[in-house]
Structure formats: structure tokens, C-alpha cells
Symmetry: D2
């Protein structure tokens, strides 16, 4: 067994604030809420509503992929040094089953973390079924980014 | 050089209808429009508006990943046998640079296609910069799916 | 919690034979051995030897990626209908840390399976550290493949 | 169209030396040769031989994935600052068709590069067919890596 990770910068107050904060942009459109936040793990969810469903009768796959993208960034904030910025660098997702109603719940976990990068895995469930799995990389940008800013 | 692909089911009338059709779900939220449609290639775009921008000043990465997910499916319809269904099975995306204004333009290409699967690559640009690259798999579900329906 | 998967075609005798079988091709070069095989889960390993190490002092990353590719296919054989063929369709891997000595151990798990496809996640460890994580798709080709054979 | 990349550190002498150098580890097992090297682009190849072919009659998929992993690193050396180290951080590959004989040829291209990271796309051909496409991220480790060394 690999040793468990430790998160020296864990900031539970920030995690609580992020659970309570109202969303904006595409996470606001989806209505994403953080349900649970621990050091290196996150549970978030949104509710399927008519507006998300396409004429085929399922929600657009892009709702799930945007949801995963959102979780990849959010999970990082309470475990990074203060004022760092989490840039979702890349991820890969498998969409396993269609979603047509109920809650969509993501469980994310940081499986690797260095000063500059973290790797996160995410499982997405709906009505007791696994509907997506994802794996991605987040770049941790320190408080004063270098002049080129890119990564 | 690999031989060019041919698309025996290419349906230009359907492609024209898809260019004109109004969007719904997350593609409607983003305001995605199909700008050009050829057999096996697609250009689509959306305009950055204030609602998509987060407090950091860039659009949420999830806007780009949902955009890519949408293009992966749309590109398939005019090249599949009629009444088939394109299920985005999986994809991988690298987010290369932040986007804060202007048009976001995706150029998608089918690089491989069999009876059951296609592989699509996508480049996303904004203001003359490459801002994302993606590669994904679409499962082609024939008109009458088997009883298990899953894939 | 998503319901656990069941594997109706599980063939423990085949799993035992695969544990004992000698390897060939790139798996033979690496010296991969199956250490444990359950329905939908697999543990495999190889030993770092001088020939795998590059001038930098670590094994070539390609040893890990070929190892993951191998496990993706092997895990499928005892859970597919007899005489089916498992085609590794795609996968994504994050390489987390260099490997220079000792055993490299992969733990693979089937997280989704339909008649035509399975999704597998893999964790690779070396000396109590997680050194890679991967996620991939396997296409299950039935005993008599269709004439086009591709997928 | 996105602007073309420029590579300020391009070192054609190093590229020539890498074309001539003998391989080791898994690249030596495969017999990988660099056929062409330009700033930001690379063509490499290996020849299918009996030892790579499995009992099914095709080469092991791991040969292709290890080949891609190798190209991801090699392409970086002549375009990085001297004495930097290219760590393949992650990649995704789609295997499109089986390979049973002839040359396997990879064409790699750097599509994005900052001080710390580059994104590379790779197409793999065999006998005029596209047999794999891949997309990956390389971390550029500067000459004196930080104490934690990880990424």
C-alpha cells in the first residue's frame, strides 16, 4: 500500500467558506454545491433540472465534464499555500451511463501532490450508478506568478 | 502519410440543419454555434460574455470542456447511418491558456472511424492563440440499440 | 455508493492459467507476472533490472506505460464470454514519480462493464509510493468479429 | 489560425546527436530510431520483428504506448534550456488498428510550450494507416531542480 498523503497547508475555514459560497459562471448554471470537504477529498453535487436535459431525454454530457473540471480546481484551494491559484491543466473523463434525473454526485480525491502539481481522481454517481470517472492534473501557481504567467 | 478517410454516409442536408438549429441545455447556455461543417470536420464557436467569467477574470475552464464535449457529438451526426446515436464515450483535454474575451473557436476532425467508434481531435483557439487541445472517442449506437443499451 | 459490479462470465480456471503462463513480446521483456487475479481485479508486477534503467538512473517511463497497457487487456480475459478478444482502445496515464529499483506493482480494477466495453482504473506502486495512475477503455470483441474487424 | 510557435533554445547539434545515439532500456528493446528532427517536431520509427508479435499475430499494444512515451521526452531536449530534464507527466493514447508487420512511424509535434510545460501531439502510422493518436504533457525541469524534486 502506498503511504497516505499529508496536506500541510490544510485550511478548514476556507473549506467551510467554499461550501457556503454562491457559484457563478458555468458552475452557477449547473447549480453545483459542495457537500463535504476534507483535506484532499471533496464531495460536490448538482440536481438535474429540465433545462439541462436534451431532446434525447438525458442531460448533456458537457454538464458532467464541466462539473468534473470545476471539482478539479475547487478541491485544491484549502490545501495549497494561501493565495496560490489552481489551474486545471488537463484531465481525462470516461462517460459511463446517461443521466436523466436526480442528483449527480462527484467524489474527488487528491492522489498525488508536489509543490507545483497535483493529480486528482473523480468518480461521478447518479442514482446508485457510477456514471463517469475522471483523472486530471492541476498546476499550483504560487502567489506571485512568474512574468510569463502561462504555467 | 496515412490515407484520407472517406465518409460514405455524409449527409450535407443534415449538416446544414444542424448549423441553423437553436441550442438547448449547456450548449444553449454557452451559445454555441456551428460555423462550418464538412464531412469529418467541424468548426464551432461561442462568444465570451460576462456571465461566463469568474472572479479571477477568465471564463471557467468548464466552458471549454463542455464545448469540446458538445463538438465531439455534433461532428458525428451527418456522417453516421441515419437514426444512429453518437455517445461521447471519453475524451482528454489539455487547457493551455486562460480565456477572458472574444470568440472561442473549436476545429474538430474525425481521424478514425469504424462501424462502432470514431476518434476525434479538437483544437480550440481564442484571439489567435491555441487555448486547448482535446482527443476523444465517440461510440456509434445503431438505430435499434441492443437490450442492454449501455454501449 | 454505486452498486458493486457482478461478472457473470468469471472463469477462475482461466485466471489461474494466466497467472502461470510465460510472457512474450514487451511483457516478456519487462518480466511481468500476474500476482493475484479476482473477478474484475488484478495485481501484476515486474522487477526493476539494470537493462530497464536509462542513463538518468531511473527506468524508462515507457516500461510503466507498457505495463499498464498489458494489465488493461489481461484483466478482461477471465470475465469475458469465452473466445472474446480484449482490444485496448485507449488509456490515459499520469506518471507521478521516478522508479529506480525494486518491484513495480499494478493494481487494476474494472469499474464499468457492458457487452461491448469496459473501463479499468490502475494504480502503480513502487517502494510504498504511488508512481502512476491510469484509466482506460477496453473494447470487448465477440468471438466472431464483424467483417470490418476494426472495432 | 493560431500563431506558430517559436523555439528560442533550439539546438540542432543536439538534435543530430540524438538521431545518431544508440538506444537503451525499452527504446533499445523496440529498436527506436529518430528519422527526422526539427525545432518542435520529430519523426521516429521502429521495425516490427517477430519478438514483438503476440500469439494473436499483432504486436503488443504496449510497444506503441512505450514508443509514444519515448517520443514525448525526446522531442523536448533540443528545444529546452541546456541541462534541463524533460519529465513525461501524463499522456493519453487511442490505439486505432492492430500492427503486424513493417515500420511503425511516429510524427510528434509540440503544440504548446511555456517555461515549465509543453504539450505534444503524436500520430503513429503503419503501412499507410493511422494506428494511434496521442496527446501528452511534459514537465520541463530546470537544471537545478528544487529540493523536493518531484515536479
Amino acid at each position: 500500500m502506498a503511504a497516505a498523503l499529508t496536506f500541510e497547508h490544510w485550511n478548514p475555514e476556507l473549506a467551510e467558506r467554499m461550501k457556503a459560497r454562491s457559484t457563478q459562471s458555468i458552475d452557477g448554471f449547473l447549480g453545483i454545491q459542495v457537500a463535504d470537504f476534507q483535506a484532499g477529498s471533496l464531495v460536490a453535487e448538482f440536481e438535474v433540472r429540465d433545462e439541462l436535459v436534451t431532446m434525447i431525454g438525458n442531460i448533456h454530457g458537457g454538464c458532467i465534464t464541466a462539473f468534473v473540471d470545476h471539482c478539479l480546481g475547487v478541491i485544491m484551494y484549502p490545501i495549497m499555500p494561501k493565495r496560490s491559484w489552481a489551474a486545471t491543466t488537463e484531465f481525462k473523463i470516461n462517460l459511463l451511463a446517461p443521466v436523466s434525473e436526480g442528483k449527480v454526485i462527484a467524489s474527488a480525491e487528491v492522489v498525488s501532490m508536489s509543490k507545483r502539481q497535483a493529480v486528482v481522481t473523480i468518480q461521478v454517481e447518479n442514482q446508485e450508478r457510477l456514471v463517469a470517472v475522471a483523472q486530471g492534473t492541476v498546476t499550483i501557481v504560487p502567489p506571485r506568478p512568474p512574468a510569463d504567467g502561462a504555467s
